[in-house]
């Protein structure tokens, strides 16, 4: 069974780190054969919104956020890694390792 991850990225300025983190999450997921959906909450609003059924199917949630986000309660009850966008830009492999560790 392929591992499934849902993630949200949101930085303060809403452009640079939000989208750099998104790009890195997708890059590493592709490299590891992991399915990922990344929602961005940035300067252009919410894009690629994660649905309740996508949350239900996910094995773990990554919240790469430097600020509060819309709809955080969608992820309640799911193993969740909450970190800033910077670690995702800087060391995305390590972030993935940490997230995968949460899957029991």
């Amino acid at each position: 069974m392929t591992t499934k991850i849902v993630a949200v990225t949101a930085c303060i300025t809403g452009i640079a780190h939000t989208f750099m983190a998104e790009a890195n999450l997708k890059k590493i997921a592709k490299k590891r054969g992991i399915e990922i959906k990344v929602e961005t909450q940035g300067g252009m609003g919410i894009q690629n919104k994660i649905t309740p059924s996508e949350v239900a199917e996910a094995d773990v949630v990554i919240l790469a956020i430097d600020t509060s986000i819309d709809g955080r309660d969608r992820f309640e009850g799911k193993p969740t890694l909450k970190i800033g966008t910077s670690p995702v830009v800087k060391e995305p492999e390590k972030v993935f390792d940490e997230a995968l560790d949460l899957i029991k």
Binding site: T13, I15, H17, F19, M20, K27, G43, M44
Partner: protein, 147 residues
């Protein structure tokens, strides 16, 4: 105007420190009418830089600032004549800088998409190399705005 500024005089920019690079690019933005008061804008950029470095590796820096001084969201690009220390996450010197000026108004503007698309692709080494290899303004513009 499509939100991307690339000028001949910025493809060989002389500057010794990251603050100097930021100031010079902010000044160009002021000359282009993008930023009203470049001092305020510079403060916003430097303050963001102090929170966390925008030297994201691969010789690139993405300094950025959101300010009411910014008339419309714009990215201004520079190649540095001499690589500069940017406290990068991979400890390498920076030779290409993309300064993002983000408009303070809550309404999104069309240029944000270009800036966002650019930010994402900066994580891709091939994308970065394709810009590093050429000094042709039109080519660089094409690379930056094409999805």
């Amino acid at each position: 105007m499509n939100g991307v500024i690339i000028k001949e005089n910025l493809l060989n920019l002389e500057a010794n420190t990251k603050e100097s690079v930021i100031r010079k690019l902010a000044k160009e933005l002021s000359v282009e009418g993008i930023v009203e008061n470049s001092e305020e804008f510079v403060k916003a950029v430097i303050s963001r830089e102090e929170e966390i470095t925008t030297g994201v590796g691969n010789g690139i820096a993405v300094p950025h600032g959101k300010s009411v001084e910014v008339k419309e969201s714009t990215v201004i690009f520079a190649k540095l004549k001499h690589p500069v220390d940017w406290n990068s996450i991979d400890n390498k010197l920076v030779d290409m800088v993309f300064l993002l000026a983000i408009s303070g108004s809550d309404k999104g503007d069309n240029h944000l998409e270009i800036l966002a698309g650019l930010a994402g692709r900066l994580m891709d080494e091939e994308f970065v190399e394709s810009i590093r290899k050429t000094n042709d303004i039109n080519k660089i513009m094409e690379i930056i705005i094409t999805k």
